[in-house]
Amino acid sequence: MSILTVDGLSKSYDHGRVQAVTDVSFELAQGGTLGVVGESGSGKTTLSRLITGIEQPDSGRIVVAGTELEARTSRRARHERAGIMQMVFQDPYQSLDPRQTPEEAIDEIITLHGGLRGAARTARRREVLDQVDLPERARRALPRDLSGGQRQRVAIARALAASPRLLLLDEATSALDVSVQAQILRLLARIRADTGVAIVFVSHDLEVVRSITEELIVMFRGEVVESGETSRVLRDPQHPYTRLLLSSVPRPGWDPDQVSRDRRTFLRQLA
């Protein structure tokens, strides 16, 4: 059974003049991992905002764990959805309450979604903060006293505290130093193995997506131009845009001018 089904999703802005997402469909199995990769203007951010319900689609359906997202939902429906799907964004500093310690932030979610109190709540809080390897001292500190990596661990812990079945991460490691990014990616892989949570990982970074997802969709100008098993797509890309993206990744011996020529050829063929 699928945890997330997206069917014929479209969204435009500015009275239809800007088509941000066009007829996007995919399915993610329970416990699966899906990467959404694309450059700026590809529609990946709009797609993630549609899935999380921040924005409403012009047409198409989003089904999360068997329940279709409705445009105007009751407080109760939103609460239920939050118990199934949680989000983590690029900048944890903006999503964390500056006056709340990690322990307080986690408690709030546990009370809201698990209804736990007292010793049971303390135990669950410990479990969640242990899951993200947050050092003891950081658990009672304010966000401003935490490092960027620690803040992102707190954001992940808070998402996990709701015991979701689906985690949507939008550029969640993009602002971190590479060594911290690597730690967070390993952490996510472990959490997934431990909890079976499904993951949608939205990123501009092909290599990051490769390291953490099994399925992949490649977006260009609002459309899915290629999809499939991550390893297959990256090993044997079928769409010229996917090929262009792959050849753009710097590696010793690369020829940036060749990439530029390929890009111009690709854009010319499109016109």
Partner: protein
């Protein structure tokens, strides 16, 4: 990966034993500790490290932009001129005549209400005292040199009408307006899409060939540095921990920190790929 190195009386940038301290007494902090780096004409040198490693600070000292109250010792010579201990006038002269810098976010360095042409012309008019017409002519030629299409029309446009990649080309054109011998690039492609990054890297490579520019390229991306630079310096906590030809450092890192940095590159995270979980699907 040795570039077309045209050596003209020594390196364009020579940093030796550079030490930079800020604060006093208990709160004193050493930001740079014995940094050494050189860059010759026609060479691209990568300066790689994570945030707080001192890579950007090293770059800034080369254009006299060390923080106020910082104590510098050692030597920073740009085209033979010593900047450590130099007066403000000498530093300004270096910045005007020899060294130029480009940054991660070009939008933060332009005036949104100033047309592209006027922005690029600024440097020419200020440093060479050129008139409007002569400067405008040179602007078109500079915009053309950095590969911007239809430069005459483009000069009349405003920053918000340009993409990030185009605006970074404008910044490079502006940097070139003073005919520098040294170009300092601080995470200049970090905010760009990968395909656009490739275009900017292609442009920088062409400029070092055609103009014999010495380029110091600061980045957190070891893959990019290995792909684009002749030599690499790796920095950690204000110290250059490893340096050498780009491919050597990339393929045979000697310092543990370089190895750690390489292992953390997403391109090498394969071993850490999540193992499929049984029974949950």
């Amino acid at each position: 990966m040795s570039g077309s190195t045209q050596m003209v009386d020594g390196p364009v940038l020579a940093i030796e034993q550079l030490r930079l301290d800020v604060g006093t007494g208990e709160t004193a902090v050493r930001i740079l500790d014995g940094v050494g780096l050189s860059c010759a004409a026609g060479e691209i040198v990568g300066l790689v490290g994570e945030s707080g490693s001192g890579k950007s600070m090293t770059l800034r000292t080369a254009v006299g932009l060390a923080p106020k109250g910082a104590r510098l010792t050692g030597s920073v010579r740009v085209a033979g001129r010593e900047l450590v201990g130099a007066g403000r006038r000498e530093v300004l002269r270096v910045r005007r005549e020899v060294a130029a810098m480009i940054f991660q976010d070009p939008r933060a360095h332009v005036n949104p209400y100033q047309r592209i042409g006027a922005f690029v012309a600024d440097g020419l008019r200020r440093t060479r005292g050129w008139g409007r017409a002569r400067a405008a002519q040179q602007v078109v030629s500079l915009l053309d040199e950095v590969g911007l299409p239809d430069p005459e029309t483009l000069a009349d446009r405003y920053p918000h009408e340009l993409s990030g990649g185009m605006l970074q080309r404008v910044m490079i054109a502006s940097a070139l307006s003073t005919e520098p011998r040294l170009l300092l690039a601080d995470e200049a492609t970090t905010a760009l899409d990968v395909t656009t990054q490739a275009e900017i890297m292609g442009l920088l490579r062409r400029l070092r060939e055609e103009r014999g520019l010495a380029i110091v390229f600061v980045t957190h991306d070891l893959d990019l540095a290995a792909a684009s630079c002749d030599r690499i310096h790796v920095m950690q906590s204000g110290v250059v921990v490893e340096q050498g030809p780009a491919l050597d450092v990339f393929e045979r890192p000697e310092h543990p920190y370089t190895r750690k940095l390489l292992d953390a590159m997403p391109s090498r995270l394969d071993a850490e790929a999540p193992t499929p979980i049984g029974g949950a699907a």
